[in-house]
C-alpha cells in the first residue's frame, strides 16, 4: 500500500504521517478550507437569513465539504481520486445559488445543487474521451489556469476589501504582506516542521500582526462571546423541502459543466503534484475524482448546504509543502465535520482577517501557476502550440479582465465565456483540434480506408 515517495516529497500521497503530524497537517488544510465558509455567511446575509439559518447553513455546508473530502481522498474502490484534494464550498456556484434562492428559496437551491451534482456525475465517465484531446501542454495550461482562477478572490482578500469600490487600508496591505512573506520565507529557508507548517505559521503570525496593526480585527472577536461551544443544526422549514425549476436548468447545467472542468483541472494538478513520475495522465483516478465531486455536490444539495467543489488552494498548499498524503485530506474532512458542531471555533475561523486568507491563497496559487507552466513547456514548442495556448489565454483571461464586456454579449457567448479556467480549457481543446486538422483528418481517413495518399509527416 505504501508507495515510495519521489525525492524531495515529504509525504507521498499514499503515506500515512504519524498521528501528531497528521493532526497538525490536517489543521493547516482546515485553516485554508475555512476561506470558503465565508461564502455560506455571505449567502445567508444576501438572502436576509436569520442567525439560526446562517449557523445551520454553515454547519451543513461544512458537513458536506467534510464528507466530500473523505470520499475524494480515502481511496475507495470506485469513487474518489485518492489524492490530497479536499472539498470546500464552491465560489463559482454562489451567484447562481443566490438567484435560485431569490426565486424559490432554499428548497430550490437544494434541488438545483442536487441536479448539478448529478450532471457532474454524468460527466465523470466521459472524461476518458478527453484522453486524445488533452496533450501534455494543455494539461499544463489547465493546471496553470487553476492557479489563475484563484487570483481574483485571493487578491481581493489580500487587500481586505469587503465591498466593491471601497477604500483599501494600508494596514490590511501590511497584514497581508507580513503573512505572505512569513509563509514564503518559512517555505524557502525553513527546515523540517517550519517548512511543512509554513502556511500555519504565516497565518498565526498574520493574525497576531492584525491585532496590533488594525485592532478592529481583535474587537470583532467579541461576537464569539455569544457563540455556544457546541450546537446541533436547527432544521427549519427552509431545509425540509426540495424543488426544481425548468427555467433554471440551463444556467445550472452550464455551471455544472464548468465546475466539472474546474475539478478536472484541480485533479490534474493534484496528480501532477502527487505522481510527477507519470508520463501520461491517469484518467481512471480523474474519473473517480470527478464522480466523487459530483456525489459530494449532490449530497450537499440533499443535506441543505452550499454546493461543494475541489479546492485549488489546498492542492497548491500540498504542492508547495511537498506534503501530499491523502490521509491529510481525510483528516481535514473529519475535522471539518467535527468543527461544524462547534460554532465558537467556526466563527473564530471565519473572523480570520481577510488579508491573511488572501496571503494563504496567493501562496498556494503560486505553486499551481508555476507547476502548470513547467508542465506546459516540457514539450517541444511549435507555432501550433503558440496559437492554441495564446488564443485560449487571451480569451480566457479576458473574462476576468473584461466582465462588463461579456455582460453585453449574446447569451450563447456568455454561456461559454464564463471564467478563465473553463473558458481557456474549452478554447484550448477546440483550437488544438482545429489547428491539427491537417494531421488528424488524414490519419482518420486512413484508419477507415478512405485515403491512401498524403498524411502527416
Amino acid at each position: 500500500m505504501k508507495s515510495k515517495a519521489p525525492k524531495q516529497i515529504e509525504y507521498g500521497f499514499n503515506e500515512m504521517p504519524p498521528p501528531g503530524q497528521l493532526l497538525i497537517l490536517s489543521l493547516q488544510h482546515v485553516m485554508l478550507m475555512f476561506v470558503s465558509i465565508g461564502l455560506a455567511i455571505i449567502f445567508a446575509g444576501q438572502i436576509n437569513g436569520s442567525t439560526e439559518f446562517t449557523a445551520t447553513l454553515v454547519m451543513l455546508s461544512m458537513i458536506a465539504a467534510g464528507i466530500g473530502s473523505i470520499i475524494q481522498s480515502a481511496g475507495f474502490p470506485y469513487i474518489g481520486s485518492g489524492y490530497l484534494c479536499p472539498n470546500i464550498c464552491g465560489p463559482s456556484y454562489l451567484s447562481l445559488s443566490l438567484s435560485a434562492a431569490w426565486v424559490g428559496g432554499m428548497p430550490l437551491v437544494r434541488g438545483m445543487i442536487f441536479l448539478t451534482g448529478l450532471v457532474e456525475m454524468a460527466f465523470a465517465p466521459l472524461v476518458h474521451k478527453l484522453k486524445n484531446i488533452f496533450p501534455q501542454f494543455i494539461v499544463g495550461l489547465v493546471v496553470a489556469m487553476v492557479g489563475v482562477s484563484v487570483i481574483r478572490m485571493s487578491v481581493i482578500s489580500f487587500f481586505g476589501l469587503e465591498f466593491r469600490a471601497d477604500v483599501v487600508r494600508g494596514g490590511d496591505i501590511a497584514i497581508g504582506a507580513i503573512s505572505l512573506l512569513v509563509m514564503v520565507f518559512a517555505n524557502i529557508w525553513g527546515r523540517g516542521l517550519v517548512r511543512i507548517y509554513c502556511l500555519l505559521i504565516g497565518m498565526v503570525v498574520g493574525w497576531i500582526a492584525s491585532f496590533i496593526i488594525l485592532p478592529e480585527y481583535f474587537l470583532k472577536l467579541q461576537i464569539l462571546k455569544s457563540c455556544p461551544m457546541f450546537a446541533l443544526p436547527v432544521i427549519g422549514p427552509e431545509f425540509r423541502h426540495i424543488s426544481v425549476r425548468a427555467d433554471m436548468l440551463l444556467p445550472f447545467l452550464v455551471i455544472a459543466i464548468s465546475g466539472s472542468l474546474k475539478s478536472f483541472g484541480n485533479l490534474l494538478a493534484a496528480q501532477k503534484a502527487s505522481q510527477p513520475e507519470l508520463k501520461e495522465v491517469d484518467y481512471t483516478r480523474i474519473r473517480k475524482g470527478i464522480l466523487a465531486d459530483g456525489v459530494a455536490t449532490a449530497m450537499a444539495g440533499l443535506l441543505g448546504g452550499l454546493a461543494v467543489d475541489t479546492s485549488s488552494s489546498n492542492i497548491g498548499l500540498a504542492g508547495s509543502t511537498k506534503v501530499l498524503s491523502r490521509w491529510i485530506s481525510v483528516g481535514a474532512g473529519v475535522m471539518f465535520i467535527l468543527l461544524a458542531f462547534c460554532p465558537k471555533v467556526t466563527w473564530a475561523m471565519s473572523l480570520m482577517p481577510k488579508p491573511v486568507l488572501g496571503a494563504s491563497m496567493i501562496f498556494a496559487g503560486c505553486f499551481m501557476i508555476s507547476a502548470g507552466l513547467q508542465e506546459m513547456f516540457q514539450e517541444t514548442w511549435d507555432s501550433r502550440k503558440t496559437f492554441t495556448v495564446g488564443i485560449a489565454l487571451f480569451f480566457g483571461l479576458s473574462t476576468a479582465f473584461l466582465p462588463g464586456l461579456y455582460a453585453r454579449t449574446p447569451a450563447y457567448v456568455q454561456a461559454v465565456f464564463t471564467d478563465p479556467l473553463p473558458t481557456s480549457t474549452v478554447l484550448a481543446i477546440i483550437l488544438h483540434l482545429l489547428i491539427n486538422l491537417d494531421r488528424t483528418v488524414p490519419k482518420m481517413l486512413r484508419r477507415i480506408g478512405l485515403s491512401t495518399t498524403g498524411g502527416h509527416k
Binding site: 497538525i24 444576501q46 471601497d166 516542521l193 474587537l219 464569539l224
Partner: protein, 313 residues
C-alpha cells in the same frame, strides 16, 4: 528516508498553536471598545466611516479649543484636507469660518448658495442638524472639486459644536461620488414620516420637491396607500401610464411591494431586498426597499424609498 523523520516534536508545536489560539479567543472575547461616543456600525463602507470619523474628530477639536482653534485649523490646513475629503466650519447663519479645500470661501456668507439642481445646501445642512433621525447630519447635493469644472455628486456629514465661548457652529466634511448607504435612505424615509406626522397632507408637496432632502441622486421618497393607490410616485408622473405598485415584481419574479406591505401588517418598518438588472454586469444586482407605515388623515399609508446595496468586490 524522507525528511519527516527529523520531526521529533510535532505535538509540542500543536500545543503551541492550541495555546496561542486559546489565548486569542479568550482575549478577543473579553476585548471591549474604549469609551467612544461615535457609533459607526450603521455604515457599510469604510469610506463613509472614515469621513464621519474625520469630521467628528475635527468637531471635537473645535469643541475643546473654541474659536481660537480656527487659527490652528488654518495653520495646519493640509491636516484637514486629504485626497478624499476636506473639512469646513460654518456658523449657523451660513458664514464660512474655515474651508480646507476652498480657502477663498472663508469669511463669506453662503446661506443663499444653491447647487446645480436648485438645492439650498446650507439650509439643508441646518435642517439635517435639527433632525433627531439624522445623528450625523447627512446632506446630499451636487458640488465640484476644487480646480475642476464639472459637477460631482456629494454626501456630507456635519456635527453641531458649541464652543467654550458659547458660539454655535458646525463642522462638516463631504465625499465625492459617495457610496449609497442604507442609512441615507433610512434618514430620508424616517424624516418624511416625521414630517407627515407634523404637517399632515401639506408635507407631501415638500417630500415630492426635488430640491428637498427627500430626493437625492436616484433616491426618491414615495408614499402610497396599502391598496397601491399612489400619493407620491416612486418613478415619474404616473398619469400617462398608471403604475400598479402592488403588481410590480423584481427580476426574479418576487412581488416586492405586495410582500413588503403584507409584512407591514405586523411591523412598523421593513427592509426588502430585491434583484435588479444591471447593464454592466452578468449577474443581477441587489437593491433594497425601505418601507414604513404611518397615518395620514386617519388612514394608514406607506412611505418608502429604494436604494442600491453594496456589491461584492
Amino acid at each position: 528516508m524522507i525528511a519527516c523523520s527529523r520531526f521529533s516534536h510535532p505535538l509540542a508545536l500543536m500545543r503551541l498553536v492550541a495555546a496561542i489560539s486559546a489565548l486569542l479567543l479568550v482575549t478577543g472575547c473579553n476585548a471591549r471598545r474604549d469609551g467612544d461616543a461615535l457609533d459607526l456600525s450603521v455604515y457599510q463602507y469604510r469610506d463613509t466611516r472614515d469621513l464621519v470619523r474625520f469630521a467628528y474628530d475635527a468637531a471635537r477639536v473645535l469643541e475643546r479649543g473654541g474659536l481660537d482653534s480656527l487659527a490652528a485649523f488654518r495653520a495646519h490646513r493640509n491636516r484637514y484636507r486629504t485626497s478624499e475629503f476636506y473639512l469646513y466650519i460654518y456658523d449657523m447663519h451660513g458664514k464660512n469660518l474655515f474651508h480646507a479645500g476652498m480657502p477663498r470661501l472663508e469669511g463669506r456668507n453662503l446661506s443663499g448658495l444653491s447647487d446645480i439642481n436648485g438645492k439650498r445646501v446650507l439650509r439643508l445642512i441646518v435642517q439635517a442638524l435639527d433632525d433627531p433621525d439624522n445623528p450625523h447630519g447627512w446632506v446630499h447635493y451636487s458640488w465640484w472639486e476644487p480646480g475642476k469644472f464639472y459637477p460631482v455628486t456629494k454626501s456630507s456629514c456635519h456635527f453641531r459644536v458649541k464652543t467654550p465661548e458659547g458660539e454655535v457652529l458646525f463642522a462638516g466634511a463631504g465625499i465625492d461620488y459617495p457610496h449609497e448607504e442604507k442609512e441615507f435612505v433610512r434618514i430620508a424615509v424616517d424624516g418624511a414620516v416625521a414630517l407627515i406626522g407634523k404637517k399632515g397632507a401639506a408635507a407631501l408637496a415638500e417630500i415630492a420637491d426635488p430640491t428637498s432632502g427627500f430626493n437625492f441622486r436616484d433616491v426618491r421618497v414615495f408614499a402610497f396607500y396599502p391598496d397601491g393607490e399612489l400619493l407620491i410616485s416612486p418613478v415619474l408622473d404616473d398619469r400617462a401610464v398608471p403604475l400598479r405598485l402592488l403588481e410590480c415584481r423584481d427580476e426574479v419574479g418576487n412581488p416586492i411591494f405586495a410582500g413588503a406591505v403584507k409584512r407591514l401588517e405586523t411591523q412598523d418598518r421593513v427592509w426588502s431586498v430585491f434583484m435588479a438588472r444591471s447593464r454592466y454586469q452578468r449577474q443581477l444586482v441587489k437593491k433594497c426597499l425601505y418601507l414604513r407605515k404611518t397615518r395620514l388623515d386617519g388612514k394608514v399609508i406607506c412611505v418608502g424609498a429604494v436604494t442600491d446595496l453594496p456589491q461584492p468586490p
